[in-house]
Symmetry: C2
Subunit: 430 residues, 2 copies
Amino acid sequence: MKKTINIAVVGLGQIGVYLYNEINNKKKEIEKKTGKKIKIVAISAKNKDKKRKYKIDKKIFYINPLNIFKEKKVDILIEAIGLSDGISKKIIEQALKNKIHVITPNKALISKHGDKLGRLAEKNKVNLEFEASVAGGIPIIRTIKEGLATNKITKVYGILNGTCNYIMTEMEKTKDTFKNVLKKAQNLGYAEPSNPKLDLNGYDALSKIKILSSLAFNKKISGSKCLMEGIENIDYSDIKIANQLNYRIKLLGITEIINNKIFERVHPCLVRKDSYIGNVNGVMNAVILNGFPIGESVLQGEGAGPGPTSSALMSDLLSILRGNIKYPFGISQYKRGKPKIFNKNLSSNSLYFRLEVKDKPGVLSSITKLFANYKISIERLIQIPNDKKKTASIVIITHNANEANSLNCLSILKKKKDIIKKPVLIRLFN
Amino acid sequence: MKKTINIAVVGLGQIGVYLYNEINNKKKEIEKKTGKKIKIVAISAKNKDKKRKYKIDKKIFYINPLNIFKEKKVDILIEAIGLSDGISKKIIEQALKNKIHVITPNKALISKHGDKLGRLAEKNKVNLEFEASVAGGIPIIRTIKEGLATNKITKVYGILNGTCNYIMTEMEKTKDTFKNVLKKAQNLGYAEPSNPKLDLNGYDALSKIKILSSLAFNKKISGSKCLMEGIENIDYSDIKIANQLNYRIKLLGITEIINNKIFERVHPCLVRKDSYIGNVNGVMNAVILNGFPIGESVLQGEGAGPGPTSSALMSDLLSILRGNIKYPFGISQYKRGKPKIFNKNLSSNSLYFRLEVKDKPGVLSSITKLFANYKISIERLIQIPNDKKKTASIVIITHNANEANSLNCLSILKKKKDIIKKPVLIRLFN
């Protein structure tokens, strides 16, 4: 007789309940693919009687997930609660200590506690799988850990937040404001209705970059603050001007090796309209890897939503059922060194500035003088007068400029009384 | 003390010798990632003293690879000889029977004998790995078997032959003839110098489609003839006209489920210039999957050459060293049913025709009448006169037309005495 593998699913939000239903529907297929019978023996959520998209078995329902392991024999825990701390962290620790495999889509948790939890999994000889934590529809974690296992990866970048990419795409298409498009995204379920901040300010994408970074470069997860900027301040006028200059604005996450150090960052970028990444639109995600000997590798797919996320969680489940006990980060926790972090002040980028100024003599010359003082060399300058208001927009594209100088220059610009709105700085993607 | 894993590499052409060098260079990294020490204990090729890119250890050299297993204890065989039959098939069979894991990039062999060899591997509880057989730089086989394991895949298509894609791209760019561009591709090492036929006639791409098809749909490899056309007859004038109509010509491999049957095909396609696939140029490969719940997933990377191929072979090696004994095709050989094959005569496509005709009254009307007879409805007709020669080119884009009717119509067109060159038919990508 075949052994039955017992599964617990904790967290029955959009993802959890979809997965619960998928597992029940695909029992036979999973048995066919892995030779293992599976059974969901426990589920848990805050509210037992909430209306859900799929029916749940209330006989196996727990209000407090921490009680599950006391009463049930569980082989695999699927955590779909979310948040980096609190109950989600507690139950995962409890599971690993009890030699229970863990599957989670929780990027906040993995990017913060992944090293510690990975060590716990390794010590207890169980799996900690988190394919769904980055770009659900793209099996990027498996690809780095297995498909490209012996490549020397030098750079990983891409569009990692579907919410932001949807908003940027939609603003361009509809010429509407950030605020209105965000509201639309919330109505469509692409953005969190209550608190979309973690998507919009770049935090979500940065969590994913930290995870990819540690996998690609075989280092511990960096605890450094990195360079993080969101899309909250992007105005339609920037999208319009970028468009005229043959660019689109995308929120990119980038991690790369510079002088043997790791440089991680998330910020809006002007990318060329005819580039690959410039044409990844809507809620799509894309990841591009540069490595040796592989060359450039591109992966694109739906980033979020219960379907793609559940596809990733199921691939983790099958991996465990097939009996592949693996290091959570591809190599032993004891061999993952601390990352050396590149000083972001030493980085350089071409820049886009937009300054709204009073249209009077001397303003332009004082701005260009300031740029010269900060050793920022101007490649292109466009002045767009606004006769009615006696103001003008000055758009400047610079050559490669040092990051620290650029930010210092920006802070002086902010104080200039002839500049009547908060100046805009967006980096170009090199 | 750790056990040492013994490896034999047979075939030391461009791929084999590159891999031999990679394995020797990456021993330490492999030990770090898998905890296993590895050693190449035997190599084999036709010619011991041939000049090679990397130095080989002649003390472990065998002229006849079939002698290796008699003298050496081998755990993993890497076959890089090529061809679907003969010595490559013999040694793989011998290895599997001796419970030796096998890694091969040989798509001709896998697409022909994969089912039988897979059964042999399963029976002997060893791995048969062939990630490198399809699109080296893209871990597509692992992605289907593991990353997308529980998705219901409905269609897989893409650019699977770098040689053909290079030629098509280069013809468009340089406006040169097929013959000249082929010569250039051969000089650059992108096409076989002696016999490039299997790349150009679509056979190579079809082997890959057969492998992808069996993995995506969990069926045995189809032995059917399918629809296979190559790029040998593409003329620059077709590329030019396609271009004016906003299309590019690409050799696509496509497999999909239609009415629960599998439809596999390889042929040149007119694809829209602004589509993703229309912008995969040069020697690049790309694979696009449609599945549920994943949606559309895109993977792009370098398709051929020793670097990407070796990256794929190394991922197979690591998978074996990590101790993942797996079904070669994702599920047990005994559960892979025979595929039901869609009758290609029932398929339909929009079509592009180019006819070189004598420029005289009545020709056009007789052609359009013929199309009407075969129930092919014309969407667009362009007549380009060539006054000097008193001839004209007639370009026709049709609505969706039945395949059998289209081919019958074409065979009549071929016989028409007013059509002075072999008529051209290229399918549009729907």
